[in-house]
């Protein structure tokens, strides 16, 4: 009889190639290595300098997302105005993948998209896997019961060369989410609420397992939003135990197991949950039943408040610095704050269900004058699916921009950026100073809240608009 183990520990144990000792970390096997253009060129170069080959190109999947423009006009001109350095970076990835036999969903691929959108979409992301990428939002893939985390470029090189990483056993944090979400309240509001509660370093050194009634009720896309922002609480990874929702999502996806292999995989995946009595280093229980839509007021994702609330009195110099940067005053209501840009996209909230949520608010309405609303699908497949159900028409008719897929305004290194002083209601994951352009001010929120803010031209609670929509329907 072995001791009860957590979901995390089960996945970890299966991937230990060499156990850790006092002197050396564990050698941990990596099942899937996702690669993009920004954090990989120096790693491929390091391999070449040492005469090393990519050990498992078949376990490596690459795409371009961060530095590729998304504006229709850029694509219509054949990416003619693309930044020279970005163009070279994209070409370098193509050459590196070509030389090493790594599969690449490149600029012209219909399967291209944000790396954390396409992994699940293609069925490459599977329960029980270890998944890494030179990108902190790799935590997204934990939604499938995978152990997935971001790494730096040197470690990208380690994985390319050996398919392994040197790792110490992290600690575990159980986040139990009780209750049922109210109408107009989303997974994005839940994770913002969690970060507000435990802090932007509340998960440092830990792998979070999310579970509870609210998590079980979530779709896979919602669970991805939840795990995506585990890093914003400082956590190494976020995980959700796989269940029928997970299997249903994955069944039939191009890179998922098929036929008999699928049946065998599901049997194995059903074992991937925490044993009764399994111990965590820490745990926290949060009732999300009364949670309101959340919006950030400051310059880190922990500076967050209910949309109906008033900006809190600053607790220390960090808060004062944030309020100063944001041009906001303590005690003021956040709802009603004028906004100039609305961004619906990013690896947090750019999947089909996010676009449908935005469309539910935008349908039959117009974006407020003076507001630029950008809708950026997470992948070309999401874009095609949205167009197949006419969502692009809803967005265009409302006066919003419909883009090609990519990271876009989440990282503002691809031609999409906000101007200094502008307020951006954004469905992305980081409201850091300058994240969306030098001097730009980001307010993180759900797709529903972002869409409602686009309509009113001010930070807005989406629930009255949703209610009105239902009455008309």
């Amino acid at each position: 009889m072995t001791a009860p183990r957590t979901l995390f520990r089960k996945v970890w144990d299966r991937h230990v190639v060499v156990p850790e000792t006092a002197a050396t970390p564990a050698v941990l096997y990596i099942d899937l290595h996702l690669v993009h253009e920004v954090t990989s060129p120096q790693a491929f170069a390091a391999l070449r300098e040492r005469g090393l080959k990519v050990r498992r190109p078949d376990r490596t999947l690459a795409t371009v997302d961060h530095s590729v423009p998304t504006a229709e006009a850029s694509w219509a001109s054949g990416l003619g105005e693309m930044d020279h350095a970005a163009r070279y970076q994209v070409r370098t990835l193509g050459e590196n993948c070509g030389r090493s036999g790594v599969r690449l969903f490149g600029v012209n691929s219909a399967r291209r998209g944000i790396v954390h959108v396409i992994g699940p979409e293609q069925g490459a992301t599977q329960p029980g896997m270890t998944i890494v990428c030179g990108d902190s939002h790799t935590t997204t893939h934990g939604a499938f019961g995978a152990l997935a985390f971001g790494i730096g470029t040197t470690e990208v090189g380690h994985v390319l060369a050996t398919q392994c990483l040197l790792q110490r056993l992290p600690r575990t944090l159980l986040v139990e989410l009780e209750g049922r979400l109210g109408p107009g309240v989303t997974a994005k509001d839940v994770i913002l609420g969690v970060i507000g509660r435990i802090g932007v370093d509340g998960g440092t050194g830990h792998v979070i397992e999310f579970r509870g009634e609210a998590v079980s009720a979530m779709s896979m896309e919602e669970r991805m939003t939840l795990c995506n922002m585990a890093i914003e609480a400082g956590a190494r990874a976020g995980m959700v135990a796989p269940d029928e929702t997970t299997f249903e999502y994955l069944a039939g996806r191009p890179m998922a197991p098929q036929g008999e292999a699928w049946e065998r995989a599901v049997v194995e995946w059903r074992e991937l949950n925490s044993d009764p009595g399994a111990e965590y280093d820490r745990s926290v229980t949060i009732d999300v039943g009364a949670l309101e839509p959340q919006v950030t007021w400051g310059t880190d994702p922990g500076m967050v408040m209910p949309v109906s609330g008033r900006i809190p009195a600053p607790a220390g110099a960090g808060h004062r610095k944030a309020l100063d940067y944001m041009g906001l005053s303590a005690g003021a209501a956040i709802a009603g704050q004028p906004v100039q840009v609305v961004f619906i996209g990013s690896c947090t909230n750019s999947r089909l269900s996010d676009l449908r949520a935005a469309a539910a608010v935008l349908r039959g309405r117009r974006v407020a004058p003076g507001v630029r609303a950008m809708i950026v699908p997470g992948s070309q497949q999401v874009r095609a699916a949205a167009e197949a159900e006419g969502l692009d028409r809803v967005f265009r008719d409302a006066g919003a921009e419909w883009h090609q897929s990519g990271c876009s305004l989440c990282i503002a290194m691809n031609g999409d950026r906000a101007a200094a002083g502008q307020y951006v209601v954004s469905t992305s994951n980081r409201n850091f100073e300058g994240r969306q352009g030098q001097g730009a001010r980001t307010l993180l929120a759900s797709p529903l809240t972002a869409a409602a803010s686009a309509i009113t031209g001010k930070v807005a609670d989406p629930r009255p608009l949703l209610e009105e929509g239902r009455r008309i329907a």
Binding site: S67, Y88, T154
Partner: protein
């Protein structure tokens, strides 16, 4: 091969801000590079220079005394956010060899260790002393994991033993990982049998 790290003596630069994220350390617009060198000039770009590219006189790296300092003392949770290794590359290229805080974010810490930038987490009292004494001459000794401040004040710190061994001896951990390839091959063979 990285430069061995044993003892570092330097003045400090103090940046008493909590939760300094890697977007502040090196903004994303400088990440279109395919190189790892030359990033020091963009370190803290938007805190060092205003929108018109003029130096902000009130920022610590623009004040007299910052030049040549090799130890950065920062607020809690330094290096949070993006996994970009460009952050430690930029700090190193600028001239820093160590960062001291009461807490350092996981990915940044790992990236820093891989590049010979020592992440040092110390107790709150010692940290408060460092914040109160900007420009202090201090020593960081990786051999006994001790920070030595004025008047016999000392603070211990911990570094993951393997990373410490690699830093002390200038060893690249990839070499050791490559020496484990037979075990990796055996693991892959077992996994292939299971499938």
């Amino acid at each position: 091969m990285i430069e061995p790290f044993t003892v570092l003596s330097s003045r400090t630069v103090v940046l008493p801000v909590d939760n300094i994220d890697t977007d502040q350390i090196i903004p994303a617009r400088f990440l279109t590079t395919t190189q790892r060198d030359g990033l020091g000039r963009h370190l803290f770009a938007d805190w060092r220079r205003d929108a018109a590219n003029r130096p902000r006189e009130d920022f610590v790296l623009n004040r007299p005394g910052a030049e040549g300092a090799r130890i950065l003392v920062a607020g809690r949770n330094f290096g949070c956010g993006s996994s970009r290794e460009h952050a430690p590359w930029a700090l190193l290229d600028y001239g820093f060899r160590a960062v001291i805080s009461t807490e350092i974010a996981d990915i940044f810490r790992s990236n820093a260790l891989r590049n010979g930038l020592l992440p040092v987490v110390i107790d709150a009292d010692s940290h408060a002393w460092l914040l109160a004494h900007p420009g202090a001459e201090i020593g960081i000794d990786l051999r006994d994991c001790t920070v030595r401040m004025a008047a016999g004040r000392e603070a211990g710190f911990e570094v993951e033993p393997f990373a410490r061994h690699c830093l002390l001896n200038g060893i690249d951990p990839l070499g050791w990982l490559l020496s484990q390839v037979p075990a990796i091959q055996a693991y892959e063979d077992r996994a292939a049998c299971r499938a």
